[in-house]
């Protein structure tokens, strides 16, 4: 299945990943090859087959709604590219 370059543009926006103009052709071709692989699924009749989202067909285990974690924000913020006064710093969002 051949992918249009405009679709690559849409996917790159969805994925928050930019694609260099010089890479678009090669990337479009490689993703198209992967989509060709997906076409093999089309011919299979899956009517009445229940989708399987968990390999053991289990439901999510829930815990009591009580706080179990201790506060680690100082340790975690030491890893941040930029943090100040207990907050993560990012470029200004609101003028």
């Amino acid at each position: 299945m051949s992918l249009e370059k405009t679709e690559v543009d849409t996917i790159s926006r969805l994925a928050a990943i930019s694609v260099d103009a010089s890479e678009v052709d090669q990337l479009t071709a490689k993703i198209s090859n992967v989509l060709d692989l997906f076409q093999r699924m089309e011919a299979v009749d899956t009517t009445n087959v229940e989708p399987m989202s968990h390999p053991l067909d289990q439901v999510q285990r829930l815990r009591e709604d009580v706080v179990t974690e201790t506060d680690h924000h100082e340790e975690y913020q030491k890893l941040a590219p930029a943090a100040e006064n207990g907050m993560y710093l990012v470029p200004q969002v609101i003028d």
Binding site: S18, N33, L37, V44, A82
Partner: protein, 484 residues
């Protein structure tokens, strides 16, 4: 010392014939000597290893710990390790010093197993060759021109070359078994949920599963005993009684029903691999196993279904890497969108970007039913094939990969050809069942593994079959000449 089995090391430690300090130093010396050419470690932690070795000797002197106390271990760089760089093979996490231990690291640390370092891997575990690491490709110790397999190629290479006695790996689409096969070592992917994913950096959460990589089945049983068990911090962890992997090793396999799917021996399978696997099956028959033919009719649908579902999960899991809280951040972002997009574009490698984009596409409006939902239905069909087959047999055997290790660079420009290298391993991950790779011989001088697949919670049985096979064969004891 590196030629001893882990059992022999353990006995010598407890009899005070060797110390953990000496054993750990021996491995650190070998890493110094050989890792330059193999590139199997991303990070080596000599100070931590020696400090832990001293503590392990103290534990042994006080009669504390267990059979693996004092035995060094290498962890795949996908497992968070307290105060140690944990990169997942990515530039994105090149500056990430983990603030806590993954469950499997915590368990090995509590037992007094010195941590030698973190092993190289395909970036975010996305790959079948360990070539996509930000830190460069790992080489196969049996032939430096060949890949070690992926994504746990670093862990496989350190065991094969004797740069660690034990290692951890993870298997999303075959990433323990395929590198184990390519490097001539033993590796087991347990039942989904048997080993906690707490602290294991997520790629595709409904597939990812940690497991041991060792020389022998006996050693895998010992390490799995450390790694497995219920963990309430992982919501997918199984609340099942732990199996006695070690005691089950010595069981007789007479009368064991071994299923051989005809679909495993179709066109595309390397002749040398086919011959080796058939010889291994004959060996199981000599041990008293009964060979029965089974069928897995939907095997070929597993690869496309996996390459829809795993990237879809990856596109969601990897959205956390946005340059805000940890990891790589681009220089001088102009606005928030620029911060997200450039940090991700500069921090991720080509294969990771491609899979995130494929995942975003598969989940996007208009394609969800055609791809994602369809793939989930095929997942059930593949799983049902296994369930039906296990009504006729106790284990299924076959090849781990269609060929022995391929050359570095051979498939790196063709993603689909790389994906098809996992066609025997991926169905097992879709089904969530346990499976292992056991060294079974060589094809053109490169190792070949025997694939054993079992029904849910049959790890002890698989290890038992592998151990019995290893009692009558010596493939697992062979080491590449240059590293003896």
């Amino acid at each position: 010392m590196h030629t001893l089995s882990v059992k022999e090391m353990s006995e010598k430690l407890r009899n005070k014939e060797i110390t953990s300090v000496a054993l750990t130093q021996h491995y650190l010396d070998r890493i110094d000597q050989y890792d330059g050419e193999l590139n199997a470690y991303v990070t080596v932690t000599p100070e931590l290893a020696m400090e832990m070795a001293r503590q392990a000797d103290q534990m042994i002197a006080e009669g504390k710990g267990g059979l693996l106390t004092g035995i060094p271990v290498a962890h795949k760089d996908i497992f968070c390790t307290l105060d140690v760089k944990t990169t997942c093979g990515s530039k994105m996490l090149d500056n990430f010093i983990a603030p806590y231990d993954a469950k499997v690291v915590e368990a090995s640390r509590a037992l007094g197993m010195p941590i030698l370092g973190k092993t190289n891997m395909d970036e975010f575990a996305m790959g079948s060759s360990s070539e996509s690491s930000y830190y460069g490709a790992t080489k196969n110790p049996w032939d430096l021109k060949a890949v070690p397999g992926g994504s746990s190629g670093g862990s496989a290479a350190v065991i094969a070359a004797g740069l660690a006695p034990l290692a951890t790996g993870s298997d999303t689409g075959g990433s323990i078994r395929q590198p184990a096969s390519f490097c001539g070592i033993t590796g087991i992917k347990p039942t989904y949920g048997a080993v906690s994913r707490y602290g294991m950096i997520a790629y595709a959460s409904s597939f990812d599963q940690g497991g041991p990589m060792t020389r022998s089945a006996e050693e895998s049983a010992w390490l799995l005993d450390v790694m497995a068990g219920f963990d309430e911090r992982d919501s997918t962890s199984l609340e099942q009684p732990k199996q006695d992997y070690v005691s089950a090793l010595s069981n007789d396999i007479k009368g064991l029903k071994v299923g051989v799917p005809a679909e495993y021996f179709e066109e595309g399978l390397d002749d040398g691999v086919a011959t080796t696997v058939r010889a291994a099956i004959a060996e199981l028959e000599k041990l008293g196993a009964e060979i029965v033919e089974v069928s897995l009719p939907n095997k070929d649908l597993a690869v496309p279904a996996y390459y829809v579902l795993a990237p879809a999960e990856a596109s969601s899991n990897l959205s956390r890497f946005d340059g805000v809280r940890y990891g790589y951040r681009c220089e001088n972002p102009t606005d928030l969108n620029d911060l997200y997009t450039r940090s991700r574009s500069e921090g991720f490698g080509a294969e990771v970007k491609r899979r995130i984009m494929v995942g975003a596409y598969a989940l996007s409006a208009g394609y969800y039913d055609a791809y994602y939902l369809k793939a989930q239905k095929l997942r059930r069909m593949v799983r049902d094939d296994f369930v039906n087959a296990f009504e006729q047999c106790d284990v299924i055997v076959g090849p781990v990969a269609p060929t022995p290790a391929f050359n570095i660079g051979e498939k790196s420009d063709d993603p689909v050809s790389m994906y098809l290298a996992d066609l025997y391993t991926i169905p097992v991950n879709l089904a969530g069942m346990p499976a292992m790779s056991v060294p079974a011989g060589f094809s053109n001088g490169r190792p070949v593994g025997l694939h054993l697949v079992g029904p849910y919670h049959s790890e002890a049985k698989l290890l038992n079959v592998a151990h019995q096979y290893q009692q009558v064969t010596n493939w697992h004891q062979k080491m590449p000449e240059s590293y003896q």
